[in-house]
């Protein structure tokens, strides 16, 4: 049986025990196909966060999974490691007994929002560098599958720093069950003797997952797909007024801006580059698993990669708001095709040509990401004496990329 079929078997097995939320499950399975995968599940209480987390981990790691629960009192020794007292007493050496959580392949974090900040900081370090520290000793953490869940509406939550959440590849939102789905859940519970987790078999062992991860890593991405991923992330980051460094944030920053109605005007805190890395992993995984990946698939994937990574100017329902922004992105990409702006840029990169440059300028006043690339070329042409500084789009529109005396930051 091929590795792809085994992955699909795992998805089928989970779907046979978990009612609804098929898209979230599909994304969760896809996200396991790259090394050191991290998944965050967000949902209100009693929707099945912990069940889904345990089903996935048991399907991959069998009994070799360790759960750290934010709901219980968690000590550093249980998450990272504790001192080996006999070694200290007899030999005067500080030896560390590393915790099962560090050594296990399957790592589960239940109710992350209730985890104390010290434990969170240790886990943050583990996710960032793939290592843990205790009593001056370092332990390298092998490849793993980490799944966490939280209910952000819980009143007893700690507010964890945004960079911690940024380390999670995807953030999956679960919904409550419809009437017919509730009946299906009751049938399932009776079928599995009221224990969905204990009866879950190890469908796709970790060693085979490792093989699949290697294969996925070798998938060559089509430059078009890579371009769409980079464009999407850039559209969610770009700001002609440099909001990343600005003290004033949108919407105040956007007053009077030419691009006020664009996607950028709806985003307060932009995406980090980790969004690009995760999107690339997931696009590769889609290609490997299903044999194809289109622009539509990228938009579908983005819905789960972006919600925990950005802050919108106004949020009513994060998934609906994001869907709205992704729909705008679809229109933006189509507009770019109609304006032929990338072919124009392609021509301009070969050589400067005034009529093509004029057309490119027209396109640039409608698109921040394109304007950035064109102004970069303008800088080169000004340095080469082909164009005068006063003639450039950046001067005429008052757009400036951050830099000092011509050297861009």
């Amino acid at each position: 049986m091929s590795l792809q079929n085994k992955v699909k078997d795992l998805e089928r097995e989970i779907n046979s025990r978990f009612v609804g939320n098929e898209e979230a499950i599909r994304m969760m399975i896809l996200n396991q196909l790259h090394p050191r995968s991290t998944t965050l599940i967000r949902a209100p209480r009693g929707v099945g966060k912990s069940t889904l987390m345990l089903l996935v981990l048991k399907g991959i790691c069998g009994e070799g999974l360790v759960v750290v629960s934010g709901a219980s009192e968690v000590k550093r020794g249980e998450v990272v490691g504790r001192l080996h007292i006999p070694s200290l007493e007899k030999e005067g050496v500080e030896r560390v007994l590393w915790a099962a959580f560090v050594k296990s392949r399957g790592k589960a974090l239940d109710e992350v929002n209730r985890l104390n900040p010290y434990t969170t900081a240790n886990i943050h370090h583990l996710m960032q560098f793939g290592e843990v520290w205790a009593y001056g000793n370092k332990a390298k953490v092998e490849d793993y599958v980490l799944v966490a869940n939280e209910n952000p509406m819980d009143a007893t939550s700690f507010i964890h720093p945004p960079p911690f959440y940024d380390r999670f590849d995807v953030c999956l939102y679960l919904r409550s069950l419809t009437l017919s789905e509730k009946f299906r859940l009751q049938d399932l519970l009776e079928k599995f003797d009221w224990n969905l987790f204990e009866t879950m078999p190890q469908v796709f062992p970790f060693d085979e997952l490792g093989e699949a991860r290697k294969e996925v890593a070798q998938v060559e991405l089509d430059p078009n797909l890579a371009g769409y991923v980079n464009l999407l992330v850039r559209d969610f980051q770009a700001c002609i007024r440099d909001k990343e460094e600005s003290e004033i944030k949108p919407p105040a920053l956007c007053e009077g801006c030419h691009f006020i109605r664009d996607i950028c005007g709806r985003i307060k805190e932009p995406l980090s580059e980790r969004a690009t890395v995760t999107l690339m992993h997931l696009v590769k995984a889609t290609r490997w698993l299903y044999g194809t990946c289109e622009f539509e698939d990228i938009l579908r994937i983005a819905l789960w990669v972006l919600p925990h990574r950005l802050t919108l100017v106004r949020t009513r329902n994060i998934l609906n708001d994001l869907q709205d922004l992704l729909e705008r992105e679809r229109v933006k990409i189509a507009d770019r095709d109609i304006r032929r702006q990338w072919p124009l840029l392609n021509e301009l990169m070969k050589d400067f040509n005034r009529p093509i440059y004029r057309l490119a300028r027209d396109a640039a006043v409608e698109d921040v990401a394109f304007a950035e690339e064109l102004t970069k070329l303008e800088g080169k042409w000004v340095r080469e004496g082909i164009l005068k500084q006063d003639e450039t789009l950046s001067v005429q529109m008052g757009w400036q990329r951050p830099g000092y005396q011509g050297a861009l930051f």
């Binding site: 089509d222 371009g227 990338w342 072919p343 124009l344 392609n346 050589d351 093509i356 057309l359």
Partner: protein, 124 residues
């Protein structure tokens, strides 16, 4: 230094959405056009709403209306709405006039009848 993948992306986009350049780029006499084979094939059957309205052509699955046509249709709808309001006002006025005429006719008939009656009475 630009990434090779970025250049490939631009090249692939150029192949996907070609820009037709007629003449030499070096000289001043050349023409840039957007149209490609894909565009041309869709031009055979009209998706234009105005063509369908005024020329009786069949519409495609998706109807594309450019901004000018949409503005024209909007303007026409606005004109029809105004015309509608004006005609309704006129109908209401006509209804009043007809009512008044009917009342007047009734009064005249009554007066006429009374006059005949008196005339009949006066005659011995």
């Amino acid at each position: 230094m630009e990434s090779e993948k970025y250049r490939k992306f631009l090249k692939q986009q150029s192949e996907k959405n070609p820009v037709k350049i007629e003449g030499s780029l070096v000289g001043e006499r050349f023409r840039i056009s957007w149209e490609d084979e894909r565009d041309r094939s869709t031009l055979n059957s009209s998706s234009n709403l105005l063509d369908s309205l005024y020329l009786g052509k069949d519409m495609q699955e998706t109807v594309v209306v450019d901004r000018k046509a949409a503005a024209m249709l909007q303007e026409r709808l606005r004109g029809l709405e105004e015309e509608n309001i004006r005609v309704r006002k006129r109908i209401r006025l006509m209804k009043f006039a007809m009512g008044a005429l009917l009342v007047a006719l009734a009064l005249v008939s009554l007066a006429f009848l009374n006059a005949n009656y008196l005339q009949i009475q006066l005659m011995p």
